[in-house]
Symmetry: C2
Subunit: 382 residues, 2 copies
């Protein structure tokens, strides 16, 4: 595997290794002036409404003064698509690109090819599937996330969505704003979460936090993953391992998707997989929209096989006005929001700053942050 | 206190006590034909959509065949208000009245006076404040609830509402259905629940279940009540007792109301009490609408002092079309639904059947079910 480019940090860390000779381009003695580009969502009037609202274009992770005081150039935009967009202007000469899953700049192989100076791709948040990771590895780039920065945020949000679906919240809310009152029209399909079977597809950091939060609800907890969680956590949560996904799906009243988007998981919940689930299943997906077959989900919501679907992830993002999930019955969708609470923003902004600082100094990142390093993808993306 | 009437069950139970002589009216040898009236919400087309949907008029708690096979008369209606309503027709000669908090038949002193044969008032659910309990006690009636039947249902629903408010769910949902996508307009005021201070006003059965469910969210948990919870539960949940309500309110990011409606708590959250809370407080109230000063809550939502208000209880119920809570900003209200999930309906239907069975046999009810017994109100209503 040809690794033509590398972040100076990675190079320095590898200076004693046999691979060092392939890291020849852009090998530079830090500090030097870097061109850093950030792609975030725009806040407009909202930017000034909360001093901790650092995740937007206007507030730029709160690192502008710090970067500029060290002589770096920091360009921030939300304009990320199409040939004439702001991001495109900077592709040829940027050194570092910071992106987020909430307003993803799709970093294609083609863009990577044209980004001759690019060394480092940082994801402000978790989930770097908007980047062509194989192309990044091939090009010798380093890709890193702020691992752990918003796992609690997402797990909490998943539990909220489970409850919203199980308890049939939205029809009641609609009655309130429409001037109606019809308890029966809500309660005929409102349930307690207690006693229901909840399965998580994926029990990584977020899935495990969800299981812990579900514990006091007295559900039957199941999980499917490549590897088992620790015996301690199994005991603490009472969650049972299901080796076979289809077997688990056939048991669940509620399925939560907690797996990264990879070539293996893309479109995995298609018509056939959904047919393995109970009629009336509820699905929560805060992982990635493209793990689902969009139309199969919409069809099953219309048929009633899926009795409720909630999540904050779509493909593509922003979701177009005619995305079928906007119009399907029994959906409780939002834009991509669960990992960008104010608390999460403060954490991932701090994590990005920490990695930039290490990059300038030529130091290693925390090991769990690497998604692509020295031409290798992190295990969850393989 | 004159106790002119009593359920035969209570009379029989008291046959050895000194109070027995005051229970003279309607002392009857069971079994005999009783006229039982139930007031529930109407389901219309929804009645047939779920075989377990027993809480509606049409399905009548699933006890019609059982009652009629024993020679009892069972009238069920949702028509509960105004001089010509169905309930009024039966007031003069009913023996037992079954009501629910979800579609409350307001059992006033005047109605009790006219209900000459009435012995027993059963609440299908929890919360009997729609009954004039002092008048019922004065008249020697027995009032009983199905204690515990829906405490889990309500506690789960409260946690859902906390998350909906903290994480700013509804603005995101509105964007989806309106064809919009503006992450900033949601995230500038979306937070994690983790690390926030949550206080429950009242730590009875529901409040305690809520504290247990909040435990894994790593909040600062506070509670205010007349009496402390057990040291074991304090240790398990980490919740701290606050003797002074105002002191607790000034600390809370989120206040949850879990106290019954009594003469002491009616209107307790007025303008002055709300002003004791943090600016930007979130309030969840699934207890009773009349615990709040309706207009004070609406005003504080408009001013922003209350940043979010969610609950399922109103006064009166059904809430009129012009109820100010329907129109205030940052509300996440529903009709009265949290305690009438399908699971809860099955439990309170079974509990009502059990008490009727005991009543016909002249047996005592489970002690914790009594709200008015032998002229005395249960402690939480005193």
């Amino acid at each position: 595997m040809a690794m033509k480019r590398a972040a100076s940090s990675a190079v320095r860390a590898l200076s004693a290794s046999s691979a060092v000779n392939s890291f020849t381009r852009h090998l530079s003695s830090a500090p030097e002036s870097k061109k850093i580009v950030g792609v975030f969502y725009k806040a407009n009037d909202y930017a000034t409404k909360n001093p901790n609202f650092v995740g937007c274009v206007e507030n730029s992770l709160g690192i502008r003064d710090w970067l500029e005081s060290q002589g770096h150039k920091y360009i921030v935009t939300d304009d990320k698509e199409g040939p004439g967009c702001e991001l495109e202007k900077h592709i040829p000469d940027l050194d570092v690109l910071i992106t987020t899953p909430f307003h993803p700049a799709y970093v294609t192989a083609e863009r990577i090819k044209r980004a001759k100076n690019l060394q480092l791709l940082l994801t402000a948040g978790i989930g770097s599937d908007h980047i062509d990771l194989n192309a990044a590895a091939e090009a010798g780039l380093t890709v890193a996330e702020v691992t752990g920065s918003n796992v609690v945020s997402v797990a909490e949000d998943e539990l909220m969505r489970i409850l919203i679906l199980v308890r049939n919240f939205l029809p009641g809310y609609h009655q309130v704003i429409n001037g109606d009152w019809n308890v029966a029209a809500i309660s005929y399909r409102a349930y307690d979460l207690e006693g229901k079977t909840v399965g998580t597809v994926g029990a990584g950091r977020i899935g495990r936090l969800l299981l812990q939060r579900l514990k006091p609800f007295n559900c039957n907890l199941l999980y499917h993953d490549r590897i088992k969680i620790s015996p301690e956590l199994e005991k603490e949560t009472g969650a049972k391992f299901e080796e076979d996904l289809d077997t688990m799906l056939s048991k669940c009243d509620i399925v939560v998707v907690n797996t990264p988007l990879t070539e293996k998981t893309r479109g995995m919940f298609n018509k056939e997989k959904i047919s393995k689930m109970k009629k009336g299943v509820l699905i929560v997906n805060n992982a990635r929209g493209a793990i689902m077959d969009t139309q199969a989900v919409a069809d099953a919501c219309h048929s009633g096989h899926i009795a409720g679907y909630s999540g904050d992830v779509w493909y593509p993002q922003p979701a177009p006005k005619d995305h079928p999930w906007r119009y399907m019955p029994n959906q409780a969708m939002t834009p991509h929001i669960s990992g960008t609470t104010i608390d999460a923003q403060l954490r991932y902004a701090a994590g990005v700053k920490d990695m930039l600082e290490r990059y300038f100094k030529g130091e290693e990142f925390p090991a769990q942050n690497y998604i692509v390093k020295e031409g290798e993808l992190a295990s969850q993306y393989r």
